[in-house]
């Protein structure tokens, strides 16, 4: 059993704060009841492993609240961050659908609540609901595009450009705090480096450079984006 829940929650999917942003948002009536009745919710403490790379999925994880890091460990022991996921995101779908083991390890980056939709329930819903399967296929297609773009970006964008782009994406995905500027997720410099595929020292150097240019403001792990337009320009993307 992959789920290492510290407590059981029995919340109805209808009350899920992230429901509107999940692939299940269009489920109604009996189908939503099926999902709600069969899923199991669990609470994961910060740092707790949700599943391990190379283990096999027993279902689909859906994040109710919190943040999750998916990573692989390279032969040299270095962590490569594959993806960060937040409320409403699903995890392990590629392994589940492809009948393969997980390609990465998932760990809670903060106290999180996740629901596990059992394999049979998931496939029963997918094979009987064209709208749901279409949503999942759109998700897979869009992830594929993201991966292809990322391949070209890694090859051609400088570390500074990729760092700027990553910060903008983090702000978009996890939002900002009440000040509207501070990215609402705390990552170590090493984690940022592992997302971008560079050395930690380079991240430290470029962050400090952007700080001096008043494009960012740094306070411990908190990163505030002061000049979004300048960051967009550096990232080479258009608003």
């Amino acid at each position: 059993m992959h789920m290492k829940a510290t407590s059981r929650l029995t919340d109805d999917c209808r009350n899920c704060p992230s429901r509107q942003s999940t692939v299940f948002s269009e489920l109604h009536g009996e189908r939503l009841d099926t999902l709600s009745d069969h899923k199991q919710c669990g609470f994961y403490k910060k740092g707790q492993i949700i599943f391990h790379e190379d283990s096999f999925p027993s279902g689909l994880f859906c994040i109710r609240t919190g943040a999750v890091k998916l990573y692989k460990v390279a032969a040299n022991g270095r962590e490569q961050i594959v993806r960060l996921a937040g409320g409403g995101n699903i995890l392990g779908y590629r392994a589940l659908i492809g009948g393969e083991s997980y390609a990465s390890t998932a760990v809670a980056m903060e106290d999180s609540t996740l629901c596990l939709v059992p394999r049979d329930t998931f496939f029963q819903l997918v094979t009987t609901d064209a709208q749901l399967s279409a949503r999942i296929m759109r998700l897979l297609s869009s992830e594929l595009k993201v991966a292809e773009t990322r391949i070209v970006d890694i090859a051609h964008k400088s570390v500074k450009e990729r760092l700027a782009e990553t910060l903008l994406l983090l702000a978009e995905k996890f939002g900002t705090r009440d000040d509207g500027q501070t990215i609402d997720i705390r990552l170590t410099r090493e984690e940022l480096a592992n997302m971008i595929g560079t050395a930690t020292e380079s991240v430290i150097r470029f962050l400090s450079e952007l700080n001096k240019q008043h494009i960012l403001e740094l306070e411990g792990k908190a990163i505030k984006i002061l000049d979004r337009k300048a960051l967009l320009r550096i990232a080479g993307v258009h608003d």
Partner: protein, 227 residues
């Protein structure tokens, strides 16, 4: 065994039943096709007329970077599908597929795909599996690109080419890419590729000429690649 583990962990892994598992050729309307070397099968930003599966031969997927240059996304081998997301979503192709040598496969026109796809909901699951395979291929490539050392990436690429495409009777790699293609695959400058190949040759890991590469010490390369 190490190689088995290696293959199962790369984007270029052999699938257990490449032709049977994707079921593509059995779909009504799928047509056998053959292409000569250097033929563009589908073009980036082109209208999604059809999707494809390879049965023999070799195809590369490339995508234009911001300077308009083609960047190698993947080397495809028998059993691999391509063009599926574009056909499924009715969007332009996101990459270009070019044959590296004479190649055969099946072509499924968009209209036949949609007819088959809508016939039965269980077909959704099959399409999802195919999409997952394409996504897995791309994500493995991302991971490979993220590796820091240029020599480890080049060593990995040489091993991949050997495992996917095999060797000639004299032990040389069956496919020799141009230095530019090695550079594109590894995200390393062309000059560095020459230097690393010379370095590998000095260490008796490979020998190479302008047209051939032979792996002399596989475990040495595996160790550099971190496998």
């Amino acid at each position: 065994m190490i190689m088995d583990n290696y293959l199962s962990s790369t984007a270029f892994r052999e699938r257990a039943h490449p032709h049977a598992s994707n079921g593509f050729p059995e779909i009504e309307g799928a047509r056998a096709a053959s292409w000569k070397k250097n033929i563009v099968i589908m073009r980036e930003n082109g209208a999604p007329a059809a999707c494809y599966v390879l049965t023999t031969g070799k195809v590369k997927l490339v995508k234009k970077d911001r300077n308009g240059k083609n960047f190698l996304l993947a080397l495809l081998h028998p059993g691999d599908t391509f063009g599926l997301p574009a056909v499924l979503n009715g969007e332009p192709y996101s990459s270009t597929a070019i044959t590296i040598e004479n190649t055969t496969g099946f072509r499924l026109d968009a209209v036949h795909f949609h007819r088959w796809y809508q016939q039965h909901p269980s077909n959704f699951q099959q399409v999802m599996r195919l999409l997952c395979a394409e996504l897995g291929r791309a994500e493995e490539r991302v991971n490979s690109m993220m590796r820091v050392s240029a020599s480890s990436r080049l060593a990995e690429v040489l091993l991949i080419i050997e495992s996917v495409y095999g060797t000639n009777s004299d032990g040389t790699l069956a496919v020799v890419l141009r230095p530019k293609e090695y550079a594109d695959l590894t995200n390393v400058a062309r000059g560095t590729i020459y230097r690393l190949l010379r370095q590998f040759a000095d260490e008796r890991l490979i020998n190479f000429s302008s047209t051939t590469i032979r792996i002399l010490n596989r475990s040495g390369l595996q160790s550099i690649a971190g496998i």
